[in-house]
């Protein structure tokens, strides 16, 4: 008897065969469709802008568009939470900054982002500057600290949020110098700048993006930069680093892209390659510098290491300076 399969059998066999042919051999053909990038900030902010600048070039290298989805709120946690929960297939990635390392330390974050994310590449980094009014008598950091020692509690500095990058630097310096400097919380860089220019607070630590113009105009004086090395910029390069002055306060924030944990290494490598290409483009570098950030490219491994070191270093700072206690005292 000849084997004569029924029509139905043939159809089913054909279906199964085609399904087998379409089994994901995803890594080789990645990316096959547009990639979503979650930006945990509102549109128009510096992180959002840097992301848009870089992906404009990276899209060409990948052959697929990268679509930005802004998910601001809860100090980047809304966007980060969504990123952590996404499929690690390489079609959802997201921007991260130093808050990814800081938020979990205070216990309010749902995940430990440094562990739950796959680092991919860093686009830029910015370290805060501690600035005072140019009309004040303090020419150096030591002058400020001497004044603070002589008059405990009289010198107050402004911050843009408890426990964020504007808070850690001055707090650590105050701790190491053994002076008492109370902090005043403002709801954003703009109101803090107004208070600083108006002399309502004596000092404030903020991003060079905000302070550069005022320093150039002679309104503010930068006393210390919380970075590893001096800046390349002509003006900011004149400000000494905290390490130079003998304080262990490195608070560099990164603007980087990561993905959910568990991404295939080939997919990560492909993304890395595309971003590296974009970051080699002079136009991209110039645009980032224009925004006031330092366009330093780091690959996945280096980024991962930076994030882990930052988490360790900053955990030490917030514990020693008592910031962690301050925040915890409200929640327990």
């Amino acid at each position: 008897m000849t084997f004569k399969p029924s029509r139905r059998t043939v159809l089913i066999a054909a279906l199964l065969a085609s399904a087998a042919a379409v089994t994901p051999v995803a890594a080789q053909t990645y990316p096959e469709r547009p990639i979503t990038m979650i930006v945990p900030f509102g549109p128009g902010g510096s992180t959002d802008l840097i992301a848009r600048i870089v992906i404009a070039k990276a899209e060409a290298a990948l052959g697929q568009p990268i679509v930005i989805e802004n998910k601001p709120g809860a100090g980047t946690m809304i966007g980060l939470n969504e990123l952590v929960g996404a499929e690690p297939d390489g079609y959802t990635i997201g921007m991260t900054t130093s808050s990814a390392a800081l938020q979990p330390i205070y216990g309010a974050a749902r995940y430990d982002y440094v562990d739950e994310l796959t680092p991919i590449a860093q686009f830029a980094q910015t370290a805060p500057i501690l600035a005072v009014q140019a009309s004040s008598d303090w020419q150096t950091l030591e002058d400020l600290l001497a004044d603070a020692k002589a008059n405990p509690g009289a010198i107050k500095y402004g911050i843009t949020g408890v426990g964020n990058s504007s808070h850690l630097g001055p707090a650590q310096v105050a701790l190491e110098a053994g002076v008492e400097m109370p902090h005043v919380v403002f709801d954003g860089g703009a109101t803090l700048m107004t208070a600083l220019l108006g002399g309502h607070v004596s000092a404030a630590a903020g991003s060079p993006v905000d302070y550069k113009e005022q320093i150039a105009a002679g309104e503010l004086r930068g006393l210390v930069l919380f970075a590893e090395e001096r800046s390349d910029d002509a003006l900011i390069g004149q400000i000494p680093t905290a390490l130079e002055l003998g304080y262990t306060a490195e608070i560099t924030s990164w603007t980087a892209v990561s993905g959910p944990k568990g991404m295939a290494p080939e997919v990560v490598a492909k993304l890395e390659g595309a971003f590296a290409e974009a970051m080699a483009d002079e136009e991209v570098l110039a645009a980032i510098r224009e925004l006031g950030s330092d366009p330093v490219y780091l690959d996945a491994e280096a980024l991962g290491e930076r994030m882990r070191n930052a988490r360790e270093g900053w955990t030490a700072i917030v514990t020693d300076t008592g910031i962690l206690d301050l925040v915890k005292s409200q929640t327990n």
């Binding site: 509102g42 549109p43 128009g44 902010g45 959002d48 802008l49 848009r52 404009a56 989805e69 802004n70 998910k71 601001p72 709120g73 809860a74 100090g75 946690m77 809304i78 939470n81 205070y106 309010a108 509690g153 107050k156 949020g161 408890v162 426990g163 109370p182 902090h183 005043v184 919380v185 403002f186 709801d187 703009a190 109101t191 700048m193 107004t194 208070a195 220019l197 108006g198 002399g199 309502h200 607070v201 550069k212 113009e213 005022q214 150039a216 105009a217 002679g218 309104e219 224009e290 925004l291 006031g292 301050l326 925040v327 005292s329 409200q330 929640t331």
Partner: protein, 506 residues
Amino acid sequence: MESLNLLLNGFQLAATPGNLAAAAIGVLLGTLAGMLPGLGLSGTIALLIPISFGLDPLTALVLFAGIYFGAAYGGSTTSILLNVPGEGASVVTCIEGYPMARRGRGGAALSVAAIGSFVAGVLGLVSLVTLAGVVARAALAFGPQEYLCIAVLALVLLSGITGGSLVRSALMATIGIMIGTVGMDPLTATGRFTFQVDALYDGISFIAVIMGTYGLAEVLHTASGGTEVQRPPRIRLRDLYPTREEAGRAAPAILRGSFIGLLVGLIPGPSGTISSFLSYATEKRFSRGRSEFGNGAIEGVAGPESANNGADSSTLIPLLSLGIPFNSGAALLMTGFLIHGVTPGPNLISGHPDLFWGLVASMFIGNLMLLVINLPLVGVFASVLMTPTAYLMPIVSVFVLIGAYFIDTSFVDVGVVVLFGVVGYLLRGTGYHMAPLVIGVFLGPLIERSFAQSMVLLDGDLLKLFARPLSGTMLGLAIAFIILRIAYGVLVQRRAAATSVAGSQT
């Protein structure tokens, strides 16, 4: 005068076809953005930033500035016609503008809003050109202690805004303040009343609250068979523009409102909202038509709309001369600047004089364009009201709910709009007005934050507030106002008691 020459030079730069086109497009887009509740300035500018990359810096800035002013005006259209406020500053326009529209005077309200916005915008630009340096310095003299006193003064001044029982207003204001505490604590950034919902960490969105309270509540009210909208069978030409009497009443209101807006715009924060509320309170107390308030008094549209635009104009002063954006609208404008390599600040005028004066000139042109484009369109807008309610209300609700989602791409805001819509609808006619609640929602966090900051800066000694000239004056005014109101109330009661005693003796 040096400045005048530079300004004329700026007009030459601004009057090129490319820049005029950019101004016109900007103004139109801005008006549209302002009309669509929730979408607003941020979404529009953010969408246009990548497109503007290829443009000449001045042209791009002209585009953004056009959007900025257009959005300031656009919010009034939906407020007057549909009772849907597009932004915080449009809330008070709903209170008087919408009843005017129901009476068939919608066109007049729209015209007055456009004219008032124009006047305030021009006055703001004039002060930018002539007084920028001085004014910017003055703005810096206000610190957290001053903001605390301003907020307290505003709370006191706005307390009687809806008339009626003071106790009920106070209750609603307190509930508003309580709602305002939801979110991040200003001192330690810990979440309050967030119930582990991420979206509540930043607080309950003020825009969502007002969209629900005014927009959705009105839809529900109309749907439940509320007062029939009186629609004239045909919109006559004189319905579109203010009568002589209305114009006569609106003119002083516009001037007062502009003045208030220009001053309040120099304070960081939601100056558009605060100035429009303060203007409303002023008009309610001092204008000729104050007895009509609640039923559509033209001063209640003219004053607040001018105040809103005045605040938006004068916010440009610290933005352009100091490089500090005082609210989110200014911050977006600043981003637009930064993208094109122009950093606003003390060096702007000296470093890029052409750019600065060209921009200022195009802002004058933009304001004029707004007026010229929108006045004839008043008829078109007003005819929206001719749409049968059965079709209009569902469209409005879809409009409002989509706008709510777009505030922060979150469904939590949609929920807030629905909740406040229902609450606003249920509280109608009960004597509990929503206006004090709305005021509490935005003034509460302001007061708490300023109080916390002041306590640290004053080393815990609040009496030192009186030692600072500005704070002391404002606090003194607030206290004086409270004493006056109590005294007035006691006097009225005594007189009433005396009359009834006299009456019972006859």
